[in-house]
């Protein structure tokens, strides 16, 4: 298969089928809620929705998202050709699956109609010395993207200083601020340090991590566990009408920072956490 057709299949998989880690986390969420409560009703509908999307090969959500790609290339592979393949696959996927055309010209307000445009899809390139291309991607819902926040520590309002304890406070504040607006139960990607743009990219990349992985940094692994428990104790629940689980996973990464800066970027992913990857062994 050509790279383009493999990418179209990836789009279809992401738009219509949740990965096992997300699906299992939704089942765990349902088990956590009281039977008969609005939260239980909502999470049951969410699971039914995921099942129907999969069996009927329909997009899980009408917002088929902002397509974001992280591509790792072997040496001597042409970036423009890969970019072109992704763009073509996006047009085909939009027409065939179909995906909702979401790309709007920010100046004229005109929808491009095929999910392509300036920085759309969003593609990050990297390289390695292996012989194949790795494509990791997500369809990022707009409602959850809107709830993302960047903090600069210290933050006097939260009493948050420049340490992991300060980071903890910002993440809890972000979850409280989002309430039910980003379609909980959420997965949170958190990045500390870096420049403003590096932090935003790094937090988004954390959303690709399997929910059941273990952070290589014991300190960050502890913070992830603690934040998940504390965020859920806020009582926001699935869809935000109260309940036990509004966060299914917290994934944190750290970059070095400039001595003057301490950014904390919090990225939200809705329960319809549509992510996927492919390895391409052919020539581009």
């Amino acid at each position: 298969m050509s790279l383009v057709s493999e990418l179209v299949s990836l789009y279809r998989r992401m738009a219509t089928v949740l990965s096992d880690d997300i699906y299992n986390a939704l089942m765990k969420t349902r088990a956590s809620e009281d039977r008969g409560s609005p939260a239980h009703l909502a999470i049951s509908t969410i699971i039914e929705n995921a099942d129907l999307a999969k069996s009927g090969s329909k997009p899980i959500c009408q917002d088929t998202g902002y397509p974001v790609f992280f591509v790792t290339l072997p040496s001597h592979t042409s970036i423009p050709r890969v970019r072109e393949a992704i763009t073509e696959a996006t047009r085909i996927a939009t027409a065939e699956i179909p995906l909702r055309p979401n790309a709007v010209d920010s100046i004229t307000g005109k929808n491009s109609g095929d999910n392509t445009g300036a920085l759309w899809p969003l593609i990050y390139f990297d390289g390695w010395d292996k012989d194949h291309t790795l494509v990791r991607a997500m369809l990022k819902g707009g409602g959850s993207e809107n709830c993302g926040v960047i903090y600069k520590l210290p933050d006097a309002r939260l009493g948050a200083g420049r340490d992991l304890e300060g980071v903890r406070k910002t993440v809890l504040d972000a979850v409280h601020g989002a309430q039910g607006r980003a379609c909980p139960p959420y997965v949170l990607g958190v990045a500390l340090g870096g420049s403003k743009d590096a932090a935003a990219q790094l937090s988004k990349m954390q959303l690709l991590r399997p929910l059941d992985d273990t952070n290589p940094s014991p300190k960050l692994a502890d913070l992830e566990r603690r934040l998940m428990e504390e965020a859920n104790s806020l009582g926001i629940g699935p869809i935000g009408v109260g309940g036990k689980t509004c966060v299914m996973g917290v994934k944190i990464a750290a970059a070095h920072r400039h001595a003057a800066s301490y950014f904390v970027d919090v990225a939200f992913c809705c329960w319809a956490d549509r992510k996927g990857s492919l390895e391409y062994h052919g020539k581009v």
Binding site: P38, A42, T45, I46, E48, N49, L52, A53, G56, K58, P59, I60, C61, Q62, D63, T64, P98, L99, R100, P101, N102, V104, G109, K110, N111, G113, G141, G142, G143, N146, L158, G159, E165, K169, L172, D173, H176, Q179, G180, R181, A182, C183, P184, E230, S233, L234, G235, I236, G237, I239, G240, V241, G242, C270, W271, A272
Partner: protein
């Protein structure tokens, strides 16, 4: 907490009898309207010049995924979008156009809550992201307005729905489940920020 079956267009009595926590199934025609449509309703048109009437209407904050098949529109999936982006317009839209129900997700601000009580309108929450399930209650697409200009997610779609399920989360009596959850979680957050 009660269960109600309602038919559009809705009356003021329909709206005023509902209380937060009640469940509702809606039948009849409903209109989608999100960001661009709200701007249009307030800044670019008025009830007398709008080509359809919204009196007694249910407005659905939704940008559906629709496909065109042999010159007909067919619904693919359609769940709610986040309502708070419509906060700057909604109170005026309700008052000017005579809206009786807003369907969305995540709730709306105090100004909208006040307008619900003053004008006789309710806010209903549909399950966020449940786009496949909710599309099954859309029996057909009756009309599309401003499709070329606003695009698929942002134009007005008129749906015929049967037994569309939702929960009353903001009512005409000043109650809002969103506000209750927000305040309770703010208390909890305060404790968590003080503990370390």
């Amino acid at each position: 907490m009660s269960d109600y079956s309602l038919k559009t267009p809705l009356s003021e009595t329909d709206a005023r009898k509902l209380r937060v926590g009640d469940t509702v199934t809606l039948s009849g025609s409903i209109f989608t309207a999100r960001d661009r449509a709200h701007k249009y309703l307030i800044e670019e048109t008025k009830p007398e010049t709008l080509e359809f009437s919204l009196k007694g209407a249910a407005l659905y904050h939704c940008g559906p995924l629709v496909k065109r098949k042999d010159n007909r529109f067919e619904i693919v999936v359609a769940g709610p979008t986040t309502s708070n982006r419509m906060n700057p317009y909604e109170a005026d839209v309700i008052a000017r156009y005579g809206i009786r129900a807003i369907i969305g997700k995540g709730g709306m601000d105090d100004r909208t809550l006040e307008a619900l009580g003053r004008c006789g309108c309710v806010y209903l929450s549909a399950v966020s992201g449940a786009a496949v399930v909710l599309a099954r209650y859309v029996t057909r697409i009756l009309n599309a307005y401003k499709l070329e200009e606003f695009g698929m997610p942002e134009c007005f779609w008129e749906f015929d729905v049967r037994d569309f399920p939702a929960i009353v989360t903001m009512d005409t009596h000043g109650q809002s489940i969103h506000k209750q959850v927000e305040q309770a979680s703010a208390e909890k957050l305060k404790d968590l920020l003080l503990s370390g």
